[in-house]
């Protein structure tokens, strides 16, 4: 946001903030140790709102739960904005000093009345009003979200709608106030930091910028294309158009993790050449022409990860990898050497030091300092810099050192997969506490709290279907069909069911999901599938 792809705050800030909004996040299960920090905030007296279709383990800690209908987030956010403006609670000093486009924004959100938002989202107008007033009047506030915001076809618009709220109230760029996306994967932040994005070089430097690109070209002795590349969903579309015929997959399992897995597998099978580098022979690896056995990144390799609070921390090798497995860096080096380049022997610190010479936000992070300081939060531009607890303090500087932060106009649109008579029930997906993603890593231990490959619904929903707990039901979407036993939960309601994503071998949820994806971020709409459920 505002040119830097990272959460603005540190975890410690949520411990003393006045208001916590958890929007589309079940951090209690998906990010348990972040939730420890959040609970300290609650115990220190912070008021908490949860916005989530499910009354999750996280939402149970909130003072108020807004049980939003799946995919209506923008309508709700725009109504919160309108209410803040019309109640005279907007931070006009901040808006004038630090933002642009407010007048257009105020006019744009005017049709999003509380009543209209209630109609779209199912959340009572009084609760939306209360959230708006509390957010606007809190001295400090943390607005946190995760995949409930981003796994939609309009993911970027969802995020922008939340950023608008922070600009309206000045809840960004100050200690205690911030925008906090909690990252789902251990190093997805680090991947972005390192330029594993189609349009960025390491340190979020634009590939289209001739000067920045020139710096890397000089250091690498290579020409770098100035055109942005593709993100993974665009790659699969390119396969469909036969424009992409070979793929090198490192540490991903797209055959099971991508939406609409039937189509994904067909496209992977159609490739001329598929290379997979992984610690397991995953379903994707089993389809590969060549498999490079890899060492685990977190226990058998040296390097760094970057966490959700932009903290770069050292990863260390505790174990020797089995058999002929090598760490990712060593494989890439040998691959390059085999291709006729002279990269020599892989050394994680050498690569890191090269990165520090090219990415100003990492320049001050030597291995020695990372070790001594227990990690450093970027940006850290020089060797004497302590790192940065929160971003965008410049918004409060006078005069402003940069262009003001713009309001964005984003319209609510319903989920791509509509509910109708044939598919009347909304299926949403997510994680459970004891498991992780496609289960490749988390299925190795025997969890006493394993829920099984089940479909969660309320007893009322099951009664409507004529099913009892444990009965196997057939779940059918416009793309596919699976069977699963019913499990009762009371965090749901009629018309809303939930399945976890962790056991694709037993229950492949992604045969049901659709691959409608957000053109700006490339994330697919895992959260909103229309299904019908029948007893078997």
């Amino acid at each position: 946001m505002f040119g830097a792809g990272g959460g603005t705050s540190s975890y410690e800030e949520i411990e003393t903030t006045d208001l916590i909004i958890l929007w589309g996040s079940n951090a209690r299960s998906a990010h348990p140790i972040f939730f420890h920090h959040l609970l300290k905030g609650v115990r220190n007296g912070a008021k908490m709102y949860a916005v989530d279709p499910r009354r999750t383990e996280s939402a149970q800690w909130a003072d108020t739960w807004l049980g939003i209908d799946v995919g209506s987030d923008i309508a709700l956010a725009n109504a919160v904005a309108r209410e803040i403006i019309n109640a005279g609670l907007a931070n006009t000093e901040f808006i004038e000093h630090s933002t642009s486009g407010f007048d257009d924004f105020a006019e744009f959100v005017e049709p999003y009345t509380l009543e209209r938002a209630e109609e779209i989202s199912g959340v009572p107008a009084s609760a939306i009003r209360a959230l708006a007033h509390d957010y606007a009047t809190a001295e400090t506030a943390q607005l946190c979200w995760t995949l409930g915001i981003t796994e939609h076809h309009n993911a970027t618009d969802n995020v922008v709608a939340l950023i608008n709220l922070a600009l309206l109230t000045g809840h960004v760029g100050r200690y205690g106030s911030g925008l906090v996306p909690i990252r789902g994967q251990n190093n997805v932040q680090g991947g972005g930091d390192m330029g594993a994005l189609p349009n960025k070089l390491p340190g979020f430097q634009n590939v289209a910028d001739d000067e920045l690109r020139g710096k890397f070209e000089k250091a690498y002795g290579m020409t770098i294309p100035s055109e942005p590349g593709w993100h993974v969903t665009q790659m699969f579309d390119a396969m469909e158009r036969a424009e992409l015929s070979a793929m090198y997959v490192i540490g991903e399992n797209p055959a099971q993790s991508e939406a609409d897995s039937g189509r994904t597998i067909e496209l992977l099978e159609g490739l001329d050449h598929l290379v997979v580098q992984d610690i397991f022979l995953t379903k994707t690896a089993a389809m590969a022409d060549v498999v490079f056995p890899a060492a685990s990144g977190w226990a058998e390799s040296e390097g760094t990860f970057t966490s959700s609070e932009r903290r770069v921390q050292r990863v260390r090798r505790a174990l020797d990898p089995p058999g002929s497995a090598k760490d990712d860096l060593a494989i890439l080096f040998e691959f390059a050497n085999a291709m006729g380049h002279e990269w020599g022997t892989a050394d994680a610190e050498d690569v890191w030091d090269e990165l520090r010479s090219l990415s100003p936000m990492h320049a001050g992070m030597s291995y020695e300092r990372l070790e001594a300081m227990g990690g450093i939060q970027w940006p850290c531009p020089d060797i004497g810099h302590p790192g940065t607890k929160f971003l965008h303090a410049w918004l409060w500087e006078d005069p402003m050192p940069r262009e003001p932060a713009p309001f964005s106009l984003v319209e609510w649109v319903p989920p791509v997969d509509p509910l109708d008579e044939d598919y009347p029930i909304r299926l949403t997906t997510g994680r459970r506490l004891d498991a992780y993603n496609t289960g490749v890593q988390s299925s190795g231990y025997r969890s006493p709290i394993y829920a099984g490959a089940v479909i969660d619904m309320t007893p009322e929903q099951a009664a409507d279907l004529g099913a009892s707990e444990g009965d196997v039901v057939r779940i059918t979407s416009r793309r596919g069909s699976v069977e699963a036993p019913v499990r009762f939960t009371n965090g749901l309601r009629r018309g809303l069911v939930f399945m976890a994503i962790h056991s694709p071998d037993d229950l492949d949820v992604n045969t049901l999901t659709l691959d409608a994806w957000d053109p700006k971020s490339g994330t697919a709409e895992f959260k909103a599938t229309a299904v019908r459920i029948e007893t078997t």
Binding site: I33, G297, E309, L433, Y436, S442, P448, I449
Partner: protein
């Protein structure tokens, strides 16, 4: 125009520890003041990351004007306090506490620091004979934890870590009264049937080995547990993007235990079920 929340300045107070003046922030405890003054004060139930519970009474010190000894871990410093950290009365009390524990509870797995303090105070083993000794079968109810309450000193650390100080799950608490009181789930149901979410934070804070990971328990049973052959490497958890520090205890190229550093601000030593047990995937026997 920058708005920053600046912490209020903390006042300082001066206390006398074993005759020497020490100046501390007014938020400090007598334990912190004593240690700042170089005094060797034992603790057992106290842990930096948890709220003091004052159950063991080993950290007691003598404060001039106070009728009873005071637990230094929870008593705040006050201007002009005169403190004796190792007077005859303090030594006598500490020895007695150790001897009572030693006569009722199996202390065979306490840490080296406690062993050193017991030697320092000349603790007489099993001084009170077999008047009362905790006897209870080891509870093994799942593949992750073992509970051996013959080793439990009722320090309350596990209850605090499961409850308001960290995990906020409240699966366990003190049940019963007096000598026969114990740590239990609700109605003493099995752990898998309880509210437990298997974060392992109770095990992580247990000072006596009453709570133990099954991996360690089995290796101890078979005589294979050997800390001299173990290395401890700090790395970052692979599950989710919070960035928890993991200490991987490795013996013979296998992870045998996972802990987290108490002094790291991300975790304060606490983890979740995935960080604690999710390592199995990298040492599965099948390819």
């Amino acid at each position: 125009m920058i708005e920053q929340r600046i912490a209020d300045p903390v006042a300082t107070v001066t206390v006398t520890i074993d005759g020497a003046p020490v100046t501390m922030p007014e938020t400090a405890t007598l334990l912190e003041a004593s240690r700042a003054a170089g005094a060797d004060v034992p603790t057992l139930c106290y842990l930096e990351t948890l709220t003091p519970f004052n159950s063991c009474r080993l950290c007691v010190v003598e404060v001039a004007g106070s009728r009873t000894l005071v637990p230094s871990c929870s008593r705040m410093v006050e201007e002009g306090m005169e403190v004796q950290t190792d007077s005859d009365r303090v030594q006598h009390t500490r020895r007695m506490v150790y001897e009572l524990l030693d006569s009722t509870v199996d202390l065979s797995l306490v840490d080296d620091e406690t062993t050193r303090q017991m030697e320092r105070y000349g603790v007489r083993t099993n001084r009170f004979g077999d008047g009362y000794r905790r006897t209870e079968a080891v509870k093994i109810e799942d593949d992750l934890y073992v509970r051996d309450y013959e080793k439990c000193i009722m320090c309350y650390r596990c209850v605090a870590a499961c409850g308001p100080d960290a995990q906020n799950t409240f699966a366990i608490d003190v049940a019963g009264r007096g000598l026969t009181s114990t740590i239990a789930t609700e109605y003493d149901i099995t752990l898998p049937d309880s509210a437990c979410v298997y974060c392992g934070n109770c095990v992580g804070v247990c000072p006596t080995g009453a709570l133990m990971f099954t991996s360690e328990y089995r290796m101890r049973e078979s005589g294979d547990w050997d800390e001299d052959r173990q290395t401890v490497t700090t790395t970052i958890c692979t599950f989710c993007g919070v960035g928890c520090n993991l200490e991987l205890h490795v013996q013979d190229n296998r992870i045998v235990k996972v802990t987290s550093p108490m002094d790291h601000e991300v975790t304060s030593g606490h983890l979740c079920i995935k960080g604690r047990f999710g390592y199995a995937h990298i040492q599965s026997e099948s390819p």
